[in-house]
């Protein structure tokens, strides 16, 4: 099981890299924040795979935490975008 999971990590890393690339590359701020959402999903995937490879459910707690917290970051990003043009006030 562990061996296969190790291999499954590779596409995840690729996804991570792509999301990171988009995040850095933009070009618009919205692109970066979309990429951040993607990043969250990939990280949750990582947590799940780690749980399997170590056999410890504790990593699913991490997944839950991630899902909880990253939404707030997305919301903050959105607010930043809305307000940056003075449209929100």
């Amino acid at each position: 099981m562990t061996g296969i999971v190790d291999w499954l990590e590779l596409p995840l890393v690729a996804a991570l890299a792509l999301a990171g690339w988009r995040m850095v590359r933009g070009p618009s701020a919205a692109d970066r924040f979309v990429a951040f959402d993607m990043l969250t999903a990939v990280a949750v995937g990582f947590a799940a795979l780690t749980a399997v490879s170590t056999g410890r459910a504790a990593f699913l707690d991490v997944a839950l935490g991630l899902a909880l917290v990253n939404f707030v970051a997305t919301a903050a990003f959105a607010l930043f975008l809305e307000r940056n043009d003075g449209a929100g006030e």
Binding site: D6, G26, F36, A43, A58, V62, V72, A75, G88
Partner: protein
């Protein structure tokens, strides 16, 4: 002697208080202390007379090498008599001189004068060199305070500072000398210096020691090139000038040189240096004495010349030189103090001290005129005054020593100048006709004319009946300085000797100087060159230059450019590491290469990629996002390497940073235009690379050393057994190393206070804005509660599962963040119901107090107690750790909310 010093010290503090209540007679009351001390010292005369030495010692601070050892020999005894005797007269005189001053000021003056007297006594009595330095420096400080006594005058302040700069510098040289001597001989005794002379000279410290002693002596005794402070010191009130800057303090240099003569003489260059410096000083002082315009400065320069003579006499070899030195010391102290008193009286009476504008005062100040005449005759070396005898000794010493004629010639000339000065300062103010009438505002009083008169009389009586003083003071002093008894013949008439011939020449030249003083004076006055090459100006230029250098250096170092500070720091840090590595000279240990796990490696590299992107981005939002990627990748790295607690914390922190930093970015311009030139950027890149390289190498070596984990292993074994928790990290945080956590919690609490202080000030609420997004607003309520429940669960389960107070608090803060984002800060605040800082304070109290129950139960602080339900009862185990973690939770929650509310509000402005 201790008793006497103690009496002097206490008396100095108490006796002057009388000046606050007594008017004119205060001087007489104050004088009781010095005169009483003088009488007490005279009681030691029988001891000293026999050539014995009285020593006393008390252990004080043996760890520092400091013992209170006092030593009274003939030389010290002579000084003690001069200090206390003249000190008493100064007190009397000052009582009259300062009648106009406010009483508090007079009292302060007496205090300083008496303290100075105490310090002088201490200096000449101290045997331990540290003790000597204590008193020596005290005289410098008191001199500083006395010169600047009239502190409203800028000239006084300047003169005081100059004097302190020079004499305190000399004091430091003395400290160095003492430290080096102690290094060589292993003890601090001044008396032992003579005995250890060969050892000292032979040591590598020999030359520095002698140079330092000379610098100390020359600065104190105003020898060239450190002489210029003395004439300026005449800014002090005249009684102080008479006491400090003529009769006593300036002679401390001579005292020191005399004590060190065996060491100085043991080198081939020591005596030459002394004599050269003395001759230069004498020459410079003579010229300046003739240029001097005021009574006091003419006296000051002549004092300088006299000090030169004394140094010369220390430098000359042979017993006659020592005899002459002691004789001249005594004579000079007596007549010069008298002359200063007279000068002060003239100044006091007429308000002017300029010689050219004075005249005809003999009638108005008759007793002063008599005293001045007597003292001047002694200074001029006219028989039968004491000055004559001392001058005879001087020439005898010159002739008997093994030195060439140049010093002699200079001495003759200098003595002639002294004759001239003596004549001028007596004739001009008192007996010649003034250019214009001189008005006398204060007539002379008993306390003003009695002290100089007594001194003038002493100059006469000692020379007429020298037996007692010779027996008691001069002969023991000579013996003490020369090292063995020397026959001393103090009498006015020695018969027709070469010395008498020299005296006659001196008097003749002196008379000529008096006759043509006006033209000589005028000629020298106009010679600007002398002023120009004066070292005073050089010194001031040096000090000013130093200030400029200081300003320049400070400006160069403290340029105010943060970047350059960081550059300096970073370069220094890297250099320090490289230096340390170079000195240590160890080779790198390479770690055993372990298998590369490609996915994890890529994750880590993505982290690096984020960092690189952050470096390259010029938009602040991009930079923040890139830094976030690094944080994210690092969190995943933690996760895949078995650190769920770290991962969850790092993820939460990253999310919170987004919430908080976007608020910052809302407030500031996002475009960070390049602020560094390309070359600077290249340099910075080099520094950063070097730093990274150094860290990399160190880390490689560290991992090459293996990973010993004794403490970590212990924690793994004991976590459940002793700490009742399955999550070892959490048990470490709340129990094994709970104290770290407590400190960290306090850090966060303090951060919250800071945030509240910085952000809470603005009460202006931004315009209420409509809900950000319909769905978000609608969902924010349930989301809030979901997050709150999650945070409590994370807190509660933290002891056994990933989580704990920190993460719990962060997640709870995120719950409020949802609210603040969806409905505005105000409604989030309303939902909280309390001030965030109140949560912080309560949390901090809870965390600290949770450490006490265990302590009350008899263990150390933070001993966690556990309550376990009886078997079969379905209740969880409870521990004080829960209170601790709850405290942490509240602090974190309150702190993050402080910033969340404040920064979001700041961003919304």
């Amino acid at each position: 002697m201790f008793v006497l010093l103690l009496v002097a010290l206490l008396g100095s503090c108490i006796v002057p208080l009388s000046a606050r209540y007594v008017g004119k007679g205060a001087g007489f009351i104050v004088a009781l202390l010095p005169f009483g001390l003088a009488a007490a010292f005279v009681a030691y005369a029988p001891v000293v007379e026999r050539g014995w030495v009285r020593g006393e010692g008390i252990a004080w601070a043996p760890s520092l090498g400091l013992d209170l050892t006092l030593r009274l020999d003939g030389f010290s005894f002579l000084f003690c008599l001069l200090i206390t005797g003249i000190g008493g007269l100064v007190a009397v005189y000052a009582g009259g001189y300062l009648t106009d001053k406010p009483r508090a000021e007079r009292s302060r003056f007496f205090t300083l004068i008496l303290l100075f007297m105490t310090a002088m006594l201490g200096t000449v009595l101290a045997d331990n060199m540290l003790l000597l330095i204590v008193f020596w420096e005290a005289t410098s400080i008191l001199s500083f305070l006395l010169i600047g006594f009239d502190s409203r005058s800028a000239r006084s302040r300047r003169a005081a500072i100059m004097a302190l700069q020079v004499t305190a510098g000399g004091g430091l040289a003395l400290v160095a000398a003492a430290a080096m001597i102690a290094q060589v001989t292993g003890n601090w005794s001044l008396a032992a210096v003579a005995g250890n002379a060969p050892q000292i000279v032979a040591s590598p410290y020999g030359v520095p020691i002698i140079l330092c002693v000379m610098i100390a002596a020359f600065t104190k005794s105003a020898q060239f090139p450190f002489h210029f402070w003395l004439p300026n010191a005449m800014q002090a009130p005249t009684p102080a000038s008479a006491f400090l800057h003529s009769a006593t303090m300036v002679k401390l240099g001579i005292y020191l040189l005399a004590r060190f003569e065996p060491v100085i003489a043991a080198t081939w260059w020591g005596r030459t240096t002394l004599i050269t410096v003395a001759c230069v000083t004498m020459a410079v002082a003579s010229v300046q004495a003739l240029r001097a315009e005021s009574f006091k400065s003419a006296l000051a320069y002549s004092t300088m010349a006299s000090l030169g003579i004394l140094v010369l006499l220390v430098g000359l070899d042979g017993p006659a030189a020592t005899v002459a030195m002691i004789g001249f010391l005594l004579a000079h102290a007596i007549y010069k103090a008298a002359l200063f008193f007279c000068a002060g009286s003239v100044l006091h009476a007429t308000g002017t001290g300029t010689l050219r504008s004075l005249g005809g005062l003999a009638r108005k100040l008759p007793m002063t005129a008599i005293a001045c005449t007597g003292a001047s005759l002694s200074m001029a070396g006219i028989p039968p005054f004491l000055g004559f005898i001392s001058k005879e000794f001087l020439f005898e010493a010159q002739l008997e020593s093994s030195w060439e004629l140049i010093p002699l010639a200079i001495a003759v000339l200098v003595n002639a100048v002294m004759v001239g000065v003596a004549g001028v300062v007596t004739l001009r103010p008192f007996f010649l006709k003034p250019v214009k009438p001189v008005k006398v505002e204060h007539p002379e009083s008993v306390s003003l004319f009695m002290p100089p008169l007594l001194l003038a009389l002493a100059g006469l009586t000692i020379s007429l009946d020298p037996d007692w003083i010779t027996r008691v003071a001069i002969r023991p002093a000579v013996a003490a300085v020369y090292g063995r008894a020397v026959p001393v013949d103090v009498s006015v008439w020695h018969g027709w000797t070469p010395m008498l011939g020299l005296s006659l020449i001196v008097v003749a030249i002196g008379a000529a100087i008096v006759r043509w003083w006006r033209s000589i004076h005028a000629f020298l006055r106009d010679a600007y060159l002398i002023e120009e090459i004066g070292l005073e100006r050089l010194w001031e230029t040096t000090v000013r230059g130093l200030l400029r250098v200081s300003a320049a250096v400070t400006g160069w170092v403290e340029h105010g450019d943060l970047r350059r500070y960081v550059v300096t720091t970073a370069v220094a840090l890297v250099a320090l590491v490289l230096w340390s590595l170079a000195v240590a000279g160890a080779a790198i240990r390479w770690p055993v290469v372990d298998a590369l796990r490609p996915a994890e490696a890529l994750v880590a590299l993505i982290g690096v990629g984020g960092a690189v992107a952050a470096v390259r981005a010029r938009n602040l939002l991009t930079t923040m996002v890139a830094v976030g990627i690094t944080g994210f990748a690092v969190a995943i790295t933690f996760m895949v390497n078995g650190a769920p607690d770290l991962a969850i914390t790092q993820f939460t922190v990253e999310a919170l940073l987004v919430v908080l930093l976007t608020a910052l970015l809302l407030a500031v311009p996002l475009d960070a235009a390049r602020s560094r030139r390309p070359r600077q950027r290249a340099g910075d890149a080099a520094i950063a690379t070097a730093f990274a390289a150094v860290m990399f190498v160190a880390m490689v070596d560290m991992t090459g050393a293996g990973h010993p984990t004794p403490a970590a292993d212990w924690f793994g074994r004991m976590s459940y057994v002793a700490g009742k928790g399955l999550n070892v990290v959490n048990v470490i945080l709340v129990d094994f190393r709970g104290f770290d956590t407590l400190g960290e919690t306090t850090v966060i609490a303090v951060a919250a206070l800071l945030g509240a202080s910085l952000l809470g000030a603005r009460k202006t609420e931004p315009q209420p804005r409509r809900a950000v997004h319909y769905s978000f607003a609608a969902a924010s309520g349930p989301l809030f509660w979901l997050l709150i429940v999650a945070s409590v669960l994370i807190l509660w389960r933290g002891h056994d599962q990933p989580g704990g107070g920190f993460v719990g608090g962060l997640v709870a803060a995120l719950a409020f963040a949802v609210f603040a984002l969806a409905r505005g800060v105000r409604s989030a605040e309303t939902r909280l119901r309390a001030r965030p800082t109140t949560l912080v304070a309560i949390g901090l109290l809870l965390a600290v107090l949770s450490g006490l129950p265990g302590m009350i139960a008899g263990g150390p602080f933070l001993s966690q107690l556990w309550w376990e339900p009886p078997a079969g009862v379905p209740l969880p185990k409870l521990g004080t750790t829960i209170a601790f973690d709850l405290g942490v939770f509240l602090v974190v929650l309150g702190a993050v909310l402080t910033f969340l509310f404040g920064l979001r509000r700041e961003g919304a402005r």
